[in-house]
Structures are given as C-alpha cells and as structure tokens.
Subunit: 184 residues, 4 copies
C-alpha cells in the first residue's frame, strides 16, 4: 500500500473527520474543504469514497503483528497498538469502532478479516505463553484473549473519548504489568 502525498493527506483527513464526528461527518465535501480543494479534485486521487474508506480501514492494521513469541509477542502487540494510536490519535476513536462501518458489507468483511487475523496470531502467542509457563494454564485461550484485549481496547477507547486526557503509554504499561501479575 504505497500512497502518494495527496492520498496520505486525504486518508489522514478522513481519519480525523471520522474520529471527530463519526462516519456521518466523513463526506467528500468535508474532506475537500479540510484540504482546501474542491470535491472533484478528490477523485483524481481515489476512485470513489469506498476506496477512501477501505484504505483508511487498512491503515488500522499497519505493522501491528510482531515477530516475537509467547508473552513477549503479546506485549509487543499491545505496545505496537499503543504506539500506533499515539502516533495518530484519531485512530483511537476509529480503530475498534467496527459498528461504524456496518453499512457496507465490503467494509465489515475487511474489518472482520483483520480481526480474525489478529486473533489467530494472538491465540498462538497465548498458547506459547502457556506452554512456557508465562501464563497460567487453567484459562482457555479464547477467554485469555478477551481478558487481555478487552481491557486494551477499552483503555484505548477511553483515551480517545477523553480527548487524550491521560498518558496512554504509561497506562498501557501499567495495564500490561497488572495483566502479567493476575494472569500468573
């Protein structure tokens, strides 16, 4: 996914608009106005709105899957998510808002496939962590996934909804160490 400068600008604007006002605010006109150009100009850079949204969604996914193993992999995944979100704070309000893209099956499928891909990677991490004794063994991987990523999602969401009122990174580390503590 290599984007031109203008394309990146458009996607970033789209992200910001969606984060601030929901999908309803994501209109071609709003993007164009925010960029100081006219609506038709957008179409030189993306075939249609659908392509913009799909490119935006694909951005949620950028380089999150780490090349580690076990508990290390899990921690790396969480940290990469947090880094991604602090780098581009708009993501915090959009990344886990799958419902916002429900209207077009194309989007929901894209999102769902991303979710599943991540989940599979993480389930493997959990299994490894259990085998290595990094995590207690009496909790099924599925449940572990929920116990770990439920809080991570909620933390990021709270950070977004609070307009970044607290230090996400610090809270992320705190969450991580607490998770380590209670899951073993």
């Amino acid at each position: 996914m290599t984007l031109t400068n203008r394309q990146t600008e458009i996607i970033d604007t789209a992200l910001k608009l969606t984060a601030e006002g929901g999908i309803q605010e994501l209109t071609i006109k709003n993007i164009a106005t925010a960029l100081g150009i006219t609506e038709p100009a957008i179409y030189r850079h993306f075939r249609n709105k659908s392509e913009i949204i799909k490119t935006m969604i694909r951005k949620f996914d950028e380089g999150v899957v780490p090349e580690k193993e076990g508990m290390e992999g899990i921690a790396a995944f969480i940290r990469s998510r947090i880094r991604q979100v602090t780098d581009n704070p708009s993501l915090a309000r959009v990344m886990f808002a799958e419902e916002m893209f429900l209207d077009d099956p194309e989007y929901s499928e894209l999102l769902l496939s991303m979710m599943h891909r991540h989940k599979n990677v993480l389930l493997r991490f959990f299994q490894e962590a259990q085998e290595r004794g990094e995590i207690r063994r009496d909790i099924p991987a599925d449940l572990l996934f929920r116990l770990v990523f439920g809080p991570v999602r909620l933390l990021i969401k709270q950070w977004g909804m609070s307009n970044h009122a607290f230090n996400l990174q610090a809270h992320g580390e705190e969450l991580l160490s607490t998770l380590r503590k209670i899951l073993w």
Copy 2:
C-alpha cells in the same frame, strides 16, 4: 420513560436497523418501511429523528444498575447487561458503539454521561469489594474497571458480531468466574 406501543415498535425497529446496517441505515424511510407505514406517520409518534435516537440510547441503560454491594453488585451488573442483550440481541451491536453517535454532541453527551454514571457505581462496587477482601487490593479501582468491563464489552461485542453464534449467558458465567479467580 413510558412509551406507547407504536413508540416501542419504532424504537425496536430503529435498534434493529442500526444493529444490522449501522447508523447509516437508520433512516425515517427505513423505519417506516419496516413497520409498513409511511414516513410522515412516524412523526405522529416522535417529534423528530433526534428524539428517536435519544430514546434508543436511553434504552441501553434500562435497569442495569443493581441494588447490591461489592462483588455481588459487579456480578449483578454484568448479569443484567447480559440479560438485557439476550432479551434484545440487537443491543449487542449498538450498546457499546459510542462512536456511531459521534456526529451529534447531544448523543455523545448522553452516552458519555451514561458511561460515567455506570463507572461511578461500579467503582464504588470495586472499592467495597476490595474493602471486604473479595478482590485483591493492589490494583487501583480504575484499572479494575478496565480489567472487568473490557472483557465484558468485548464478549458482548463478539457475540453480536458473530450473529449470536455462541451461548452468551454461559460464556458470561465463565468469564465471571474466571474474573473472580484471577482478581482474587
């Protein structure tokens, strides 16, 4: 919040439409068509679309706050959420999708105030639970909230996104007992 029959029908339809296709599918026309009436007829029952959405949002909140204390209160809260959602499965895809209502400050405030109210009640429960020794004391209440309700939210969301592919109540109980175990 006493609703006439027709009003209840309208809200339920609104809920279903939003759950299935996102906010974008929630149009007066879609509600009217689903109910087999015409668009102007809707306005006999609600002043405008805004009222419909706000009534819908208020439904997320129905009788969730239990009159218990400590760990009992927390468990009761979670069980009441799960009951609410199994009673009206559409809620699962809508209830925690705050981002969907971002476009109108009126909605986000309503939602946010609900979130805060719940959070305060729950923080009290956590404190009580810690004081009573039902929950370990070395985790700040804020973090506890995330650790408990992150997974609950994710569980309900997964149930909704999977089109109710698993037994939510059973998974809820499993989650609850695991939480008790690890937070001990």
Copy 3:
C-alpha cells in the same frame, strides 16, 4: 401499464424533452422544471430515471399491432403508427431513434425486443398477403419488410425533423397506395 396522472405528465414531458433536445436534455431537473416541481418530487412517482425511460420506450409500442390479416394488417399497422405519432408528435423524433438509447443495455434490449416482435407480426402479414395474391411473390418477406417499413420510418422521421411541416396522414396514405401499386 396503468399510470397515474402525474406519471403520465412526467412521461409526456420526458418524451417532449427527448424529442426536442435528444437524450442529453432528458434530465430529472429538466422534467421537474417543465412540470413546475422540484427534482425530488419526481422520485415520488418513479423509482429512478431508468424507470422513466423504460416507461417512455414502452409507450412507443402502444396498441400498434392490429388484428387484421394480410395487406389489411400491413396497412392497419402503418396507419396506427401514423395516428400514434400525430396524436403525440414528439414520438416522431424518438420512436425510431434506437441509437439514442444505446448507453444502457436494458434500453436497447427493450427496444430490440419490440422491433423483433413487430417484425414477426409483419412478416406474417407479408406472407399472408403473398399467399392471397395481394403482393407479388418474387420478393422475400425480409426484403418486403425493408421496402415497406424503410419508407414509413423515413416519412415519420422527416415529419419530425421538419417540425411537422407537412400533413403526415395525407403523405402516409399516398405512400401506402404507392406501395400497393409497386408491390402489386
């Protein structure tokens, strides 16, 4: 095909616009303005522009196929076409302009199927006429079709392009009797 009053008005306007300025002039806005209403109002009466065009095309076909036989059938067909066109002069510039509707396969198919239906009826008439000795037998039916309907089409087209500068009915009768004479 029963149309409401408004629908008939819309189709008649569409016909007139197309006749006067070609397909390019057939816009929802032009129809609406001609009728003194706004564009969205049109959509109360037709699902979309496509339905308007298809309804318009179907009008070319109204009651043209006579219940006669042989030469009588042919004459009746021609006279009914001429009557149809004098009743609604806009038809003259549209009816045989199949190329105007080339952009949508739905239209061209509709048009083509109409053409074929008519052709089949007429080929039968020609055959009957030849069997009865009303028409000379040394010309294949296909060619007869061209010899008769080529001139009819051209006559109607000339009438339309000349802004109805001559008496179509009289010229039609003249053409008819000449055809009888030369095809003897």
Copy 4:
C-alpha cells in the same frame, strides 16, 4: 478536411464509442482512455469536444456523391454508402441517427444541411431516371426518394444493430435489383 494522424485516431475512436454506447459514451475521458493518453492531451488536437463531434459528423459525408447520372447515379450513391459503412462499420450505427445530435443546434444544422444536399442530388438523379425511362413516371420524386432511401437506411441500420450479422454488400445488391424491378 485534412486531419493529422492523431486527429484521425480521435475521430475514429469517437465514432466507435458513439456507435457502441450512444452519445452518452462519447466523453473526452473515454476517448483519451481508449487511446491510452490523458484528457488534456486531446485538446492538443481539437479545440473542444464540439469540434470533435462536428468533424465526426462531416465524416458521414465523405465522397458519397457520385458523378453519374440517372439510375446509375442512384445505384452509385447507394453502393458508395455501403462501401463507406463496410469500411468503417461503426458508421452504420451513427450515420443515420440524427436524433443523437439533437442537443446542439450546431450539430443538427450540420446534419440537416447534409441530408438536404444529398436529397437534392438524388432528386435530380430520380428526375433524370424518369426522363430516361429508367424509372416509372407516375411517382413523384419526393416519394421515390423515400421508397429508395427508406429501405437503404433501414438495411444499414439493421446491419449495424445486428452487429454486422449478415453480408451487407450482398443484401445491398439484392435490394438494388429489387428496387429496379419494382420501380420500373
């Protein structure tokens, strides 16, 4: 009308596009894409779209008027039309579709003046043919024109609409000899 190579390519593409999808498909973008160049490049070769269309229309007229007399002239005219169309099959669907160019008076006038010029030449041929006894004298020239060119037009149109499903030249000769026979 001397055209550069690129101009000829543009006109041929325009012709093909119009033949295949009607005037609506004749856009600068479609021409450019078909030629593998960008839209602004078109404007190096034609001042504007109007010039393209007018050049295209003028092509309908290329070398059709023969230097013969009487029946010979008529036959030559028909044969030249058929040759023109077999040389460039797209013409078959465009040449006699005057209605397609109705939206701009400039085009319709151009087309009409062409039609009239041809008609005058042909009327002279008919007159000569009648004087020479090549054609029966009891039919007015106007009507003769319709009787001959109605079928010719229809034949060419049928050939175009059928995607050149039959041998146009052979059918043309058959039509010609039949015309000779019945008009004698």
